[in-house]
């Protein structure tokens, strides 16, 4: 009786095992057909939010990790409906993706904290950094990667869609001290190198799905969290907020603010007259006593208590914070590293965009803040 009982129990186990084995067989028979048909699907349509199936994909999109053990499938043929990439005053409602580009020389924790605090849906934000290869650049990269590791961990629901870090060893965009950096003689060279860095970053990360490009310098440490929505809501092709700096005012014995970025301006006849007398490779610069241009500077039009939505036309823009419709860049507007109508970098960009039929605008009463060294 005991023997037959144990036999019966064994039987039950055998049946279960056999059954599960059967299940495996069936799974491989039927399950496999679905699996093999996946990589062969010829037409794939990628939208801004989708993840790409192959590492060979636009850097503005995340991609599926590949199993190191299996032979990777050939990259699929991907269609992008660029007619459907919109730029509207309601970017969140229309799920428009934003690319935030930063030429990084030094890493500031405040910059990253401010970035993470942006209220725009993070799954629609891609970040791009370009960092020089010097000692300082390595340090900045290390700090950046530490933060990224924390922010981009898979458990973080609020991580960014994708992050691209580029290293270049051409010329360091900014490696000088504050005082050196603004010396007139260095300006052209420095800003030409900066332009090249910006262009490299822009044209390798733009991709086919980006709607807006936000240029945000690595030393912008304080912006309203709704920066992207606020700027986009004006529906302007190029729009720039007013860049100020917080400092300790010794006269008043209290924290105060002062204008920082002088590259956003409306042109003046004086400046145009100066330009006419210049050689083809000379550039006009703003904020130097040697070169009085009498342009209307947006920095001096700011009023803390004024209407934040007040918009003015601009002829030159600064790049500390700058929201651009991706179409403007796609049409070819870039940051000229040479004298373009005697303008260079972001000011030259505004001019080039103008030549392509796009206009620039400024928000004199909408502030972002620059780091104070």
């Amino acid at each position: 009786m005991a023997v037959s009982r144990s036999l019966r129990r064994n039987n039950a186990i055998t049946y279960v095992l056999a059954g599960s084995l059967c299940l495996m067989f069936l799974y491989f028979f039927f399950g496999s057909s679905d699996l093999t048909s996946l990589p062969a699907s010829p037409r794939q349509l990628l939208k801004s939010k989708d993840a790409a199936s192959n590492p060979l994909s636009p850097p503005s999109l995340p991609f599926r990790k590949q199993d190191p053990n299996e032979i990777p499938a050939p990259p699929p043929v991907v269609h992008y409906h660029m007619n459907n990439v919109t730029t509207t005053p309601d970017p969140i409602g229309n799920r428009e993706s934003v690319l935030i580009l930063t030429p990084l020389a030094r890493f500031y924790q405040e910059y990253w904290d401010n970035l993470v605090k942006l209220s725009y849906p993070h799954d629609l934000i891609s970040l791009g950094f370009i960092i020089p290869k010097g000692k300082e650049g390595n340090e900045a990269t290390r700090l950046l990667q530490e933060r990224i590791q924390k922010t981009q961990s898979p458990t973080n629901k609020n991580r960014f869609a994708s992050i691209t870090i580029e290293r270049q060893d051409d010329e360091p965009p900014v490696a000088q001290t504050e005082s050196e950096r603004h010396a007139l003689s260095h300006q052209k060279e420095r800003r030409a190198a900066m332009s090249r860095a910006r262009n490299s970053l822009l044209f390798t990360t733009l991709g086919p799905t980006t709607s807006w490009v936000l240029w945000l310098d690595s030393d912008i440490v304080e912006t309203p969290p709704s920066l992207i929505q606020d700027l986009a809501s004006h529906d302007k092709e190029i729009i720039v907020p007013n860049c100020f700096q917080r400092y300790y005012n010794k006269d008043k014995n209290m924290m105060d603010i002062r204008p920082y970025d002088f590259n956003s301006w409306q042109d003046s006849p004086t400046a145009q007259g100066l330009a006419e007398k210049m050689g083809p490779d000379d550039i006009l610069l703003e904020g130097y006593a040697e070169m009085a241009t009498y342009r209307t500077l947006m920095a001096y039009l700011g009023d803390v208590n004024g209407n934040q939505r007040h918009v003015i036309d601009l002829d030159g823009v600064g790049g500390t914070a700058l929201l651009v419709k991706a179409d403007v860049h796609r049409d070819g507007a870039m940051f000229p590293p040479f004298a373009f109508y005697h303008l260079i970098e972001t000011e030259g960009f505004a001019k080039m965009a103008r030549r392509l039929g796009w206009k620039s605008y400024g928000l004199p009463n909408y502030y972002v803040y620059h780091y104070n060294e």
Partner: protein, 503 residues
């Protein structure tokens, strides 16, 4: 005194002490052997709960359910594991997909500068082709792609399809899918992007309007826009080179990428000619946009307004520039280089760093030029080397112009006329032939008649000359016969003579 006995008594005592009397009945029996009692506990029926008691039933039940599931899975594909598991896992671990995604990419741009031996250093090339109404040329273009000797997995393809009215898009995706699914020995290509964007251009792409002077400036600007969109969407930090290629190139060396790359220049173009029908001279320079700047052209540029665009090959702008195309020597050294300022867009190989640093195809008048010529100018402005190869030639497809078509129609008409004439002649000949045949048969009839007549006359003569001597009769008849044979010869000769005359 057996120590064992003593010990047993002691043990019994110990037992009694340890378990108490009659703990489980064994000790109280008084027997002097003892088995550790707790051993038997194991074999006591445990109190089984309801689940354990019905385990068999559960196993059978679950087996039945599993079997049912199998059968269902066989007949209903949607509930098969492949479909179930992702849904299940998503429900259980919400972040599972997040673990599968890689969001951070790191690139070192100093590795993608581009060198003269890119195929050895595994340098990636982005091949760009803007398309509009290009369906007729696509199969040819794809055969060129398959023939390229550069490692295919290092070539990324990017197409911009815009404002097409024919089936360019569907044909392109079919050809591309075929290219990736059925790769040849050289393997599959890298990333393939098809960008669909309509700019709403109204410019016609047919040969005549495409090359008309008035339409040039706006046409070049819109072409430039398309090129910039294509490039900015497809350029990646991994690219060392960018190759622009028109789809209507008919003949090009398979090694063109390596051949151009070997020169290690920032921007390099081959010479572009096109074959012509023999009546037009056999061949012709095609791409006149590759040129060296001239003083005349610079002076001309200064007189033009800001938005004007100088275009080459039109009498309106006599620039006197040395053109790459006209400097071709079919027997010249294909490696010979020539510094140029404007470049043509049929086949441009450029280092990706040129585009990364911001050089693009101006869709505005940049130094009085637009599109590829402006591209050359801008590259020069940023101090990149721009070079053309005058004796390295690729061949553009010959598309006849309206004049050519008219000329061809005339030639076709002439040919038809000639054919018609020949046909008429043939018919006449045949008719004549027929006539001749009729004559011969007529003559045969005549001959027959003559013979009959002769016979009848002979018969008469025989009747009359019965009385005449047989000698005379014989000579008479032989003479008649020789007459007949001579008669048979002469008319045929006459016919032949006539025939020869008509020819």
């Amino acid at each position: 005194m057996l120590p064992s006995y003593a010990s047993s008594a002691h043990r019994e005592k110990m037992n009694r002490h340890g378990y108490g009397a009659g703990a489980n009945g064994h000790c109280s029996s008084g027997r002097n052997f003892s088995i550790p009692t707790d051993k038997y506990d194991k074999y006591q029926p445990r109190s089984r709960n309801a689940f354990q008691r019905r385990r068999g039933l559960f196993i059978r039940l679950s087996g039945a359910i599993a079997a049912l599931l199998f059968i269902l899975m066989i007949f209903i594909p949607s509930i098969r594991p492949a479909a179930i598991f992702p849904a299940l896992s998503l429900g259980l671990f919400g972040s599972d997909e997040a673990f599968q995604l890689e969001t951070v990419r790191y690139y070192d741009l100093s590795n993608v500068g581009g060198t003269s031996r890119g195929w050895e250093r595994e340098e990636r090339i982005l091949l760009c082709a803007p398309l509009r109404d290009a369906a007729p040329h696509l199969p040819m273009f794809f055969s060129h792609l398959r023939n390229l000797t550069y490692p295919h997995q290092l070539i990324d393809l990017a197409f911009l399809v815009g404002d097409s009215k024919d089936n360019t898009l569907t044909l392109l995706s079919d050809l591309l899918a075929d290219l990736q699914v059925n790769p040849d020995i050289k393997g599959t290509f890298g990333e393939i992007s098809v960008l669909e964007k309509d700019f709403g251009q109204k410019v016609n792409q047919d040969v005549e309007s495409r090359h008309g002077f008035a339409a040039q400036a706006s046409r070049r600007k819109s072409m430039a826009q398309a090129r910039n969109w294509l490039l900015s969407a497809a350029l990646r930090p991994t690219h060392s080179w960018v190759y622009w290629r028109d789809v209507d190139v008919e003949t090009a060396p398979f090694t063109i990428l390596e051949d151009l790359m070997r020169h290690n220049k920032d921007v390099i173009v081959p010479n572009v000619w096109r074959p012509l029908p023999d009546w037009l001279g056999g061949e012709q320079p095609y791409d006149l946009n590759s040129w060296q700047e001239s003083e005349t052209a610079l002076a001309l540029a200064d007189t033009l307004d800001e938005d004007a665009v100088i275009v080459e090959g039109y009498a309106e702008y006599a620039t006197w520039r040395p053109h790459l195309a006209y400097l071709r020597d079919p027997y010249g050294d294909p490696d010979m280089e020539m510094e140029i300022d404007g470049v043509g867009g049929v086949s441009i190989l450029a280092k990706a760093k040129v585009f990364r640093s911001g050089v693009h195809f101006p869709a505005f008048s940049f130094e009085k030029h637009a599109e590829t010529e402006g591209f050359g100018k801008m590259a020069k402005r940023m101090k990149f080397s721009v070079v053309g190869l005058p004796h390295y030639t690729i061949w553009h497809l010959y598309e006849p112009s309206v004049d050519d078509i008219r000329h061809m129609e005339e030639m076709e008409n002439e040919r038809k006329q000639r054919e018609a004439e020949e046909k008429a002649k043939q018919e006449r000949m045949e008719k004549i032939q027929n006539d001749f045949d009729d004559g011969a048969s007529q003559w045969a009839k005549d001959k027959e008649e003559v013979k009959n007549m002769q016979k009848s006359s002979e018969a008469k003569q025989a009747g009359e000359a019965d009385e005449k001597s047989s000698d005379v009769k014989k000579t008479e008849s032989s003479k008649k016969e020789s007459d007949d044979s001579s008669k048979a010869e002469s008319p045929s000769k006459g016919e032949k003579g006539k025939q020869g005359g008509s020819e």
